[in-house]
């Protein structure tokens, strides 16, 4: 079973040289720590930055330089700054090669819910609806099961949707799964030490799994 860093590490392997990537808040942010050496990637932050660098050194924080998670960050040589309209312009026109974001629920037909729990939580969707509606390549980083042991990979989402029929790949603490165009989760890799049976038990949506599905390689 993977921890958050393990999920981030596995997702980092999906990033290819030359990609422009948008990382959501939470686990996706951690992905930046695991991008392999020699891979040139530009991180977009939808508040208006291409070329997000690491956190600043202590004492060098700049209130004017933050990422979409409101964290102080830095630029890199070749960075550019732009306004919010252009930022979402480049997202809508699919200039961003890969979007990685979190989810509370994902359904077997690729719907995603991650912004609202009626009566309980009203943080808002931020840029997530724009990202999932526009991106050509989206990976969801999420927990496969909640603390009560209930699956979050469902036949249909129960929470208000963020986007419909848009997710094609999910990485959880248990597995890597593709969502098939015709519907259903296809198990691609197991987390180390996790059995296909346990993944099947933990997936409420339709699951297609070969008995001999391989274990993830994380290094």
């Amino acid at each position: 079973m993977l921890d958050k860093n393990g999920i981030a590490k596995r997702i980092a392997k999906e990033i290819k040289d030359g990609y422009y990537v948008n990382l959501g808040i939470g686990i996706p942010t951690l992905v930046a720590n695991y991008i392999p050496e020699g891979i040139n990637v530009v991180l977009q932050s939808e508040n208006g930055l291409l070329g997000m660098g690491p956190f600043p050194f202590q004492g060098e924080e700049d209130a004017d330089m933050i990422n979409a998670g409101k964290q102080t960050i830095t630029t890199l040589p070749g960075s550019s700054i732009f306004d919010s309209a252009m930022s979402f312009g480049m997202i809508r026109s699919q200039k961003i090669d890969l979007t990685i974001l979190g989810a509370m629920e994902v359904s077997e037909n690729g719907d995603i819910a991650n912004w609202k729990i009626p009566g309980k939580m009203v943080k808002g969707m931020g840029g997530a609806m724009d990202l999932v509606a526009s991106a050509k390549n989206i990976i969801v980083a999420m927990q496969h099961i909640n603390k009560a042991g209930e699956s979050k990979l469902l036949p249909a989402c129960t929470l208000p949707l963020t986007g419909v029929n848009c997710i094609r790949k999910v990485v959880t603490e248990l597995a890597v799964l593709d969502i098939l165009p015709e519907g259903g989760f296809r198990l691609i890799e197991r987390a180390p030490g996790v059995s296909v049976d346990f993944i099947r038990q933990s997936t409420a949506g339709k699951l297609f799994a070969d008995a001999d599905v391989k274990e993830m390689e994380l290094n």
């Binding site: 956190f55 004017d64 700054i81 809508r92 009203v122 808002g124 931020g126 208000p160």
Partner: protein, 233 residues
Amino acid sequence: MINKKVSGADEAIRDITDGKTLMLGGFGLCGIPENCIAALVKKGVKALTCISNNAGVDDFGIGLMLKTRQVKKMISSYVGENAEFERQLLSGELEVELIPQGTLATRCMAAGYGMPAIFTPAGVGTEVAEGKETRNFNGKDYLMEYAFDADFALVKAWKGDTAGNLIFRSTSRNFNPVMAMAGKITIAEVEELVEAGELDPDHIHTPGVYVHRIFQGRDYEKRIEQRTTRPRS
């Protein structure tokens, strides 16, 4: 050149009265019009509709205006950092319209660019789409979203000149340029106000034609929400 300079925040917001619709620039607490917000709190103007990506935090930014109950309605994309906001929302004291961040930005741009409506795929198939016209182009569904109609836009820039030209610094740019274009009356507060001619025409982000009043702000706090650092190795 036309001189847009006013003495300060109080003069700049003099005609913002109860019930007006305001756009406020900034993302989180980054690039917010601190002086204008303070002046609005001091003035005590009420029943405002505020269009802003976020709602500040409990004790800063638009949060200050929520505390004093000056806001009737918020139109935002993300409000997750403000407990007083959540309380007013759940109790029904505050109307809230949550819309996608890109839709928010593009509806501002549409107003500034004289486009009555735009098409975006954001929110198709979700509750955001309820009651809206959906239209298919090249096999993909889009929502038609209308340009905002705001009485005032309050923006914060790094530098400005007396002709109203603005230059923003780093990611404090965010919504400020698109809102500056969109207000019927646009008020800009700047960290440094210079004479017309001191800014390079090629580097101006917001041309002065969009700005009706400009003043040099003071006592900027520029609070940081998430102070993340790395150790010096």
